[in-house]
Symmetry: C2
Subunit: 582 residues, 2 copies
């Protein structure tokens, strides 16, 4: 029970001091979340109130099901962009169908996450390697920033790929609205400055660390309030500045997502991709924060919690949500001790929805765009390419390919290409296991790689050690390698496969071993095994391999050689030994 409802582990001991800590964190996160939720709704192509709705019920759901004490869920930039990309294919922005599709996307994503959690399929997130995820996030950050430039300039433009967006912007440069541009540039400059310069300034004036940190978090809200006042006072709307306009007042009304099988079918793959991307980001921040206080999170239960949050979002008219990085760190730093902080944030957001919406009428869209641009540019980490390249050029190549495909063909193609590349790279590596042809270290019972050590071998016995488990990606490699060795060594009579590093042999590799055994038999060569681990041997005896095998299984490799090439240790042969320099 406690496993599926982690709230039961902390709620019974909830104390007054914990409550106070959670409440302070909730206030700070709420201040941060109001402009973010509006901005990410704008990014997703949805009405602003949808962003607010997605920041209420999902937070309550996470508080019930989540295992991280500090994770703050809600709309995030990359997932909002992915929502816009997939929903935009199916409906026109601003239509009820568009909103309906976004709701279905949240619902399906929730179902997938929930199913993965209950079926313990969290490993599906390993479809994505870190460099690919990092490249995808960087490219998404660039795309998001580019897509917001139109709001900063006050022009009409569109496009889902970098070339399209740039072309569209250039074509519309003549429509620039100067007042919008000034608002946009002003808000962006203020937000950038507050990130870099505000804290040192306040510190120099003797303001406490805590308070100056709070001021930093409140900078976006300050920009919002200031531009609302300006917009109201000087009638920005009358001067051609696009404003948010009427935002419906009141809490979201519970409703079911539209049931349209074709729509569900078309959104299934995007929902899966959004789930995986969202989960990978969430789990990484949740684990980092939990470690700081030596707390545990349960990765499978996190899937359940994110699933419940997304279903909650869909049922209250919201769009896909996930754990936000910056927001969770703020929540943690502000002292949140339990997921109740999230529930209190939800109350704050609900209050904002009831009370503040009339005030949002005059908010310039350029302010929201500035919030987005400043937030996402921290996602872009192109230096990671170089860092990865130095360590692993093939990983860097996958990263660059993901970035290029995402920028040129959009997020859906980008993340799909990333998944494909990750799997391809993994299969490529798995298909080439590390192995060594071994010889005996003279005068000892040890066997070592003939390429690295001075060792003794005999042309009649091939000693080969494979340093990975055997399974289908490397089954063919093993067949090829042994075939080559047999074809290259006409005197060969015995092959001894040294197995101390083999933890697992799957059914494909078993068949490969059977095929190798038969082929060696046809060529007049015996196959032996040595140093097979206990659990591996337990499985092998359930197969036909051991009974069909032409040779034997030896406890140690030296036993095998003592039996198969006793002359190797004799004085005569030692003089004819093959010595290979290190």
């Amino acid at each position: 029970m406690k496993k599926y409802f982690p709230i039961l582990t902390w709620a019974p001991n909830y104390s007054r001091t914990t409550f106070e800590a959670d409440l302070v964190a909730a206030v700070i996160v709420t201040i941060m979340l109001i402009p973010q939720s509006l901005a990410y709704a704008l990014l997703a192509g949805l009405p602003p109130e949808v962003g607010l709705y997605a920041s209420i019920i999902p937070l309550v759901a996470y508080a019930v099901f989540g295992t991280s004490r500090a994770l703050a869920v809600g709309p995030v930039a990359v997932v909002s962009l992915m929502t816009a990309a997939s929903v935009g294919e199916l409906a026109a922005k601003g239509t009820p169908e568009y909103l309906g599709a976004a709701i279905v996307l949240a619902f399906l994503s929730g179902i997938f996450l929930l199913a993965m959690g209950v079926l313990r399929l969290g490993f599906i997130s390993s479809f994505l390697s870190h460099p690919v995820i990092s490249g995808f996030i960087s490219a998404s950050g660039i795309l998001i920033a580019a897509s917001q430039i139109k709001h900063l300039l006050g022009v009409q433009a569109n496009g889902k790929t970098l070339p399209d967006i740039v072309a569209s912007l250039i074509a519309s440069l003549d429509q620039i609205n100067l007042l919008t541009l000034m608002t946009g540039i002003g808000a962006t400059a203020f937000l950038f400055w507050s990130r870099k310069g505000l804290k040192p300034l306040l510190k120099a004036k003797g303001v406490s660390d805590r308070l100056s940190g709070l001021a930093l978090r409140a900078a976006p809200v300050t920009a919002v309030v200031a531009t609302i006042l300006l917009s109201w006072g000087f009638d920005f709307a009358g001067l051609g500045v696009r404003i948010v306009g009427e935002v419906p007042r009141g809490l979201p009304v519970p409703s079911l997502p539209p049931f349209d099988l074709r729509l569900w079918h078309e959104l299934a793959l995007p929902a899966l991709l959004i789930s995986v991307v969202g989960y990978v980001e969430t789990i990484s921040v949740a684990q980092t924060l939990a470690a700081k206080r030596r707390q545990r999170i349960d990765p499978d239960q996190e899937l359940v919690a994110l699933g419940a949050s997304n279903i909650g979002s869909a049922l209250s008219g919201g769009f896909p949500v996930t754990g936000g990085f910056a927001r969770s760190v703020v929540n943690f730093d502000a002292g949140a001790e339990t997921p109740a902080a999230g529930a209190f944030t939800a109350i704050g957001m609900a209050t904002a929805t009831l009370v503040l919406t009339p005030a949002l009428y005059f908010l310039p869209q350029a302010t929201l765009a500035a919030t987005i641009v400043v937030a996402v540019l921290s996602l872009v980490d192109l230096r990671a390419i170089r860092r990865t390249y130095v360590y692993s050029p093939s990983d860097a190549a996958a990263m660059i390919a993901t970035i290029v495909v995402t920028l040129l063909f959009g997020v859906e193609t980008g993340i799909s290409a990333g998944v494909g590349l990750s799997i391809l790279l993994h299969l490529w590596r798995s298909s080439r296991p590390h192995y060594a042809i071994m010889g005996q270290v003279p005068g000892t019972e040890h066997f070592r790689n003939i390429l690295r050590h001075r060792v003794v071998t005999t042309p009649e016995v091939l000693s080969i050690r494979v340093d990975e488990s055997l399974w289908f990606p490397n089954a063919r490699f093993l067949e090829d390698t042994i075939s080559d060795q047999v074809a290259a060594n006409p005197d060969l009579r015995h092959v001894v496969l040294n197995c101390p590093a083999i933890n697992f042999i799957d059914a494909s590799a078993l068949e490969a071993l059977e095929a190798i055994n038969e082929r060696l038999r046809d060529a007049g060569v015996y196959l032996h095994l040595s140093e097979v681990k206990g659990p591996v041997m337990d499985r092998l005896v359930r197969s036909d391999l051991i009974t069909h095998m032409t040779g034997n299984v030896y406890l140690t490799h030296v036993d095998a050689l003592a039996r198969l090439a006793p002359e190797l240790t004799s004085q005569t042969l030692r003089q004819n030994r093959t010595e290979t320099a290190r």
Copy 2:
């Protein structure tokens, strides 16, 4: 040069005796291939001459590019069924568009194979695990046999899935043509009998092994000749028996595949699947036969050769081809010594196309269907399910799922599901590496799994050995495992990762280690490494991990423990030691 044109390795030394051996093999294979090529064209939904065309140029191409001395390429059952399934989606049987699509499929498949060969991407075939391939082949055999029943009954029926085929057959039972049924049953019974009973009978009559083997190979041709004679003598066509009819006489005319970008786009995925399935089958038979004579084949060059064969097939109006299992074994047994045997077979097939086509006019389709049914039933190996289950239930589950999906949803969905399942199963296994929490064997410098040995540990140091390379599928697992251990052991001050089994750390795992290091630091725990292999260390020093790492790298694990927990070996603590029973 010899690498890409293996013909250069054997042609210069071509001798009279080799010529004679190849010629005999070619005659036998030709006798076998004539009915097969007609039958598989029928199975693919194509006119019979297309089967003949696909058995000429591809064989010559393979003779030039192939590295296997005995492989016989041409139309095969499973690939023909896959051709029918994918082309049938795009055009109606019997139309020029249908033929055009089949030609494009061969062409694209050739291009893919060639590209994979040149780019050394043979590892792509590891997308398919053996159990999945075996399940797919069995299910295809059942589907093929079921699809031929209509020809044996003389009724009209269709369907691409088992339920559809069965329903369609049942609905058409009233149209059964008795004479067709008799021909079909007679031919099937004769072919089955010849497989089981002919050889013993001939042997009992004192016929030599070689000759009775030849008689066995000639059984399908005998059935063809006999039924042609019956059909001609008794006017089967007039009695409602469907006959092959007019087959254009003459060699195929070289031509380019239709260039229709939409068609190419739609056939790309089927062509890739056909390429992979065909390659996997080919390489396995080629390697088996090569091993019998201790010859080498080059898996990448085989891709080139199959690619050239398919492009050759397309340019001469044929459909996708690959190495046939039964045919290659016959070729080998008949004594083929070089790929020239294939070229001679091509001459035989060309002669047949020029001379024998008028004789095929009266051939009942039921005879061809009987040939197919008898040939494919040997592909069906349902006992493999049990065999696999005993060894590995999860592999057996993947196999059963592939069979069920193929039977219920057709070959394309079946093989796609198989690929997906193989990858999923692989990722699942890769995501759970074998690892051990270790303790020191008292009085020695050895460290062993605390679950299996009586060992000494200290609550301040966690010794963990991972027995696989670290890469993205298991990066998260490592993070989770160490997080859990840290959260569970409040006294923990040091984590020592013992790395003798780690051959590779990819960029994802490196980031995971960096994250682990940071999280441990936040929790006041030091991270150390021990027994890192040389090549792994060479790469690690190119990253930031070693400089950022809170702990040290130790040459041996006992060094680490001697430094971190010197009291562990002292007499006092030895009495308080944690002993874990085996």
